[in-house]
Amino acid sequence: MSGSTVNALFMQVLTGFQLGAIYMLIGLGLTLIFGTLGVVNFAHGALFMLGAYAAVTLAPQTGFALAILLVPLLLFAFGIVMERGLIRKFYDRPHTDQIMLTFGLALVIQEALKWIYGANSLPFPLPDWGNGIVRLHEYLPFLTGFVAYPKWRLILTVVSFATVIALFLLLQFTRFGLVVRAGMRDPEMLRFLGVNIQRRFAIVFGLGAAIAGVAGLFGGPVASVYPGLGMAYLVPSFLVVVIGGMGSLPGAVVAAILLGMALSFSAEYSAMQQVSVYLIAVVVLLLRPRGLLGQKGVLE
């Protein structure tokens, strides 16, 4: 392979990871909530959007560094309130009612944001340390010539994957994670064992919301912050969850990377890019309806 081919390929793969990053974070939250609570959260895109709006509002006041701390906390609290206040009442109702409720909430959040901030997209100024480009060829010897990448997009990618790793560590190595994983496997048995899964599930919902907040915070400057943002990202995130397998966390990660790569490599054929993602979903659905890493029996 010539040097320029390596460069081009590297850039496309990197872009693939970057494009998949936001969908990965939203998809993880969706699948985490679905796996534990059994609820498909149509408001998850709205939570992501809320994170972006919160960041746009807070960052100029508190500085970006503090916003990084505050926005996920804010979304965590918002998620807990949402679960305790409304969603909890719907666990015994049909799935269609749960979907309608979360869809209604998504609509209310969207319209409330439109009312407060207007329908146009807001400028999202980057912090000084996030501006500019990174000269990748200085760090990676296999790249030839001059290869640069926008710094913020690199930060977004790194933060996203760090969040994923943190989530896996939390679920794999803490007592809380053990209970959540057990709850995803067999909530009934867990209840028999006397574990208060209700309270932990509220935390899981908050966690999903907080991850959406991280996505909004770091993804906001890349996407444009306008009231249609939530739904625009929700649908591809659903595809991530469906392709990866509902309720499978590793599946969501794999599917999001796959989706990012599809977006990146089809970018040359710009008309196809919009549709490529859906075509992958159709193929996966026909060949393997439970998703790539979906467990047997889940939603089959």
Binding site: V40, L86, K89, R93, P94, H95, T96, D97, I99, M100, L101, F103, G104, L105, L107, V108, Q110, E111, A112, K114, W115, A119, M231, V235, F238, L239, V241, V242, M246, S270, A271, M272, Q273, Q274, V275, Y278, A281, V282, L285, L286, P289, L299, E300
Partner: protein, 335 residues
Amino acid sequence: MNDDNGAASGNWLPVAVVAAIALTMPFWFPLIGGYEGLDTKIMIWALFVIGFDLLLGYTGYLSFGHAGFFGVSAYTTGLMLLHVTSDIVPAMIVSVIVTVLLAFAIGFMTLRRTGIYFSILTLAFAEMLYRAALSIFSDFTGGDNGLTGLPTPTLLGEPMHGLKVFYLSAAFAIVGFYIARRITRSPFGMMMRAIKSNQERLRYTGVNVSGYKLFTFVISATYAAVAGSLMVIYEPYVATVFLHWSTSGEVVIMSVIGGVGTLFGPMFGAAFMLYFENVASAAIGEQWLLILGLIFVLVVVFLPGGFVEGWRRLRHARGGTARAADTDTENERAN
């Protein structure tokens, strides 16, 4: 059997009531502040939600992709009017055929799994059609601008506008309502309700559940197709929003607010929402959508049966139990 006969003989009264309300609408609707043409829109959306209710209210499947059928039919009608003939008969027939084929394909892929899966996937397919219309098919669909410059639709040489389109739409809505009632009271309707209550058990009794589901889905899409086609005849222009998820969302909201599984409820919901949009947006502007969203959430939380349920509760509270129970047998049968 007696029950069925009773239902069949009582079949005409609700249809007659709906027909009377619908056909006199051009006379009384302007008196309560509806603009000319809003009544036509109400008829078209009423037809759309009847079909949607057959799927959601009777079979229990919540589609978030009905904009796909509405929109594809609208685009097909638009393209037919633009390139083939301005006569609406071939345009409507071709639109319905195209949409039915699409519904078979989408239904085949989305109905194989549970209801949750179905809601997500129908949303995704409709979004795919929306994206496709704006990107790879933009040469045909006019991209972001929608399909403009359509000729005035004609029916046997008569130009179709104003009251003529209203009566055409009203006729479709009334006939659609009648057919939907017949379907829900037929053995097929029984199967639809059985699928909603427990499709596992139905499958064990040897019923071809997937076949019934697919057929219901296609019937539902056909209603959306006729409505989509009428929408373009009403206003010779195809907006991209016809394919957008918000159109699917509107049908969901109309049905739920009105009361799913009652056929009449969703029609009322459609009328309410369009009227509310007209009146409320004049008073409070864009925020009417926020109010609507709040109403929707409140209905979902506190009044899952929608306005019809509210009306029934009101009558029960007043002591009119016997009559309420009598006229609402249909709802109980649905539940």
